[in-house]
Amino acid sequence: MVAEVSDGKLAGIAQELLGAGRRLADALGEELAAAVLGSQVGDSGTEAIAYGSDKAYVIDDPLLASPQPDAYAAALEHLCRDVQPSILLLGKTSLGIEVGPRLAFRLQTALGSDCTDLRIDADSKRLIMTRPVFGGNAMLEMACADCFPQMASVRGKTQAPLPRDETRQGEIVNRPSGIDASVVRAKFISRNKKAVEGITLTGAPIVISGGRGLKGADNFKPLKELGDLLGAAVGASKAAVDEGWVPPEMQVGLTGVTVTPNLYIAVGISGAAQHIAGMGYSKNIVAINRDPDAAIFQRAHFGVVGDWQKVIPAFTRKCKELLEK
């Protein structure tokens, strides 16, 4: 599995991939190795072992300091040709989205994009990958034909990490990246993180999202107020982003952020498969929509059929009252 490092620490998605990788390796009776790539990766190799790896290939190179897919693809190609893994897992991150296909093409193998479930077929010992297709309307089970490594990019928050265990034993192998600056053709210039007001979507315990039914940018204000009250992050459907009411980083859905909060409140969202793909795994889903036939109610645990402009202020008032008790 490919372990991304962020600010000298193992990324959250890497812990999830280690959990998934451990389960697959145990099913096959094979070894799990982590490819820890980055620059100044700190103790990420030891951390990868604590989270389930038998081995960590630590590739620490200044060329991997910035998120340049060219450099990561080349370093991983070098590693894969050398160690010949049977399975290679990547995270469906902005880096993984580009590195995955590049690597699959170079190694002439198949890559299952955006997998939500992985298992080993008991008879053939092949990796079976399950992924949502047609905007989440259908699920596809696929496998690689006779090609290796069997590659999967894995959607965040779908695989449970193992508890961190410092006593786990494993081997750290420091390796050169095997690449030079000439491999970098798309050059990284700068990263621009937008300061998001309030709580960030990923990892928020409660998420409140607004959709096309909100009918304007100003109408996200009551959602933000409710968010502040409940300690919730505010998201949006693709429709609201397309209308220009909110910035793209607030988009929950297939081409936006995936969230799995304890409580997801969908306001004025019809429930297109595109949107469900980004929040369908939330533990509790509340839908508020005027249309009783809206698809979102098929996925909701609690529903209110009504005008959100009347429901939300009353809901907010009552929440405030209850929380002040």
């Binding site: 047609f134 990284f188 909701a300 929440c319």
Partner: protein, 268 residues
């Protein structure tokens, strides 16, 4: 400097069609197209066409559309021409059917080689049917040109492209030299509607069709038999609907009841 632009487009089932029109043939692991809903250009590909048209308006040059698919894909090419593209080519051959990601990128790359000189290739970040998101990047790999994916902004000057690439919580600025390939996300622009004049022009436009022989492709390298990936099962997930509706005489009352119910369930 005028730009020679190529856009790869795909015709897909209408992704905005109601969910209950979505049907699967479980025997063949294929999607059954809904009878009364026409297929259309894949969502992100429309944005790729628009990006190419805007670059041509700014720098001059030419926009060529390439589409791989059966006869109905010609409509996608014609629609792109109606939006303002200069030329269109349809890649069609029974041997192309059931090609996987790798073979599809290979056919497109061979077609682009046949087109000849180009500065920039634009693709959608992923198709709105199988949501794979590999073909664009794969074409760049096969043509051995630099690539930037998931662009929300593209600016060309002096043979170089500055691209804003969407990442978690913001964007990265990336720089590449031409020729290059860029895959675009929907944030990049708002696609225009075809004009009446465009539709008339597209109606008259000859769309050449290239088959495997025209591209010099060995059929052994494409189609189902050459696939690296195997489809095992395609199914519609079943979700048990057990939504608890909060009732009330007014919407306000429903809102209050919702708060009480969520509190009771210890969710807030």
């Amino acid at each position: 400097m005028p730009l020679n632009l190529i856009v790869c487009v795909k015709q897909v089932p209408d992704w905005e069609a109601p969910a209950d029109t979505f049907k699967i043939d479980p025997e063949r692991n294929k999607v059954i197209p809904p009878p009364n809903i026409d297929p259309r250009i894949s969502l992100f590909d429309e944005h790729a066409i628009e990006a190419a048209l805007q670059l041509r308006e700014k720098h001059g040059g030419k926009v060529t559309i390439v589409s791989l698919g059966p006869d109905f894909a010609q409509r996608a090419v014609k629609q792109a021409v109606a939006m303002g593209a200069d030329e269109g080519i349809l890649l069609k051959d029974p041997a192309f059917e059931d090609s996987d990601t790798y073979a599809t990128a290979y056919i497109l790359a061979e077609a682009i080689k046949k087109i000849g000189a180009f500065d920039l290739i634009l693709c959608g970040r992923q198709a709105a049917d199988w949501d794979v998101g590999q073909v664009g990047v794969g074409v760049a790999e096969l043509l051995e040109i630099p690539c930037v994916s998931i662009a929300q902004k593209i600016e060309v000057s002096d043979g170089r492209v500055m691209v804003e690439r969407l990442v978690e919580g913001g964007y990265d600025v990336m720089e590449v030299a031409l020729p290059a390939l860029i895959t675009v996300s929907n944030e990049v622009n708002k696609p225009r509607y075809p004009t009446l004049r465009g539709i008339m022009a597209a109606g008259k436009k000859q769309i050449p069709t290239w088959d495997a022989a025209a591209l010099g492709i060995d059929p052994a390298h494409i189609g189902a038999n050459a696939a690296h990936a195997r489809v095992l099962k395609l199914y519609v997930p079943v979700h048990e609907a057990h939504c608890e509706f909060l009732d009330g005489d007014t919407d306000e009352e429903k809102g209050e009841k919702l708060a009480l119910r969520l509190r009771e369930a210890k969710l807030i």
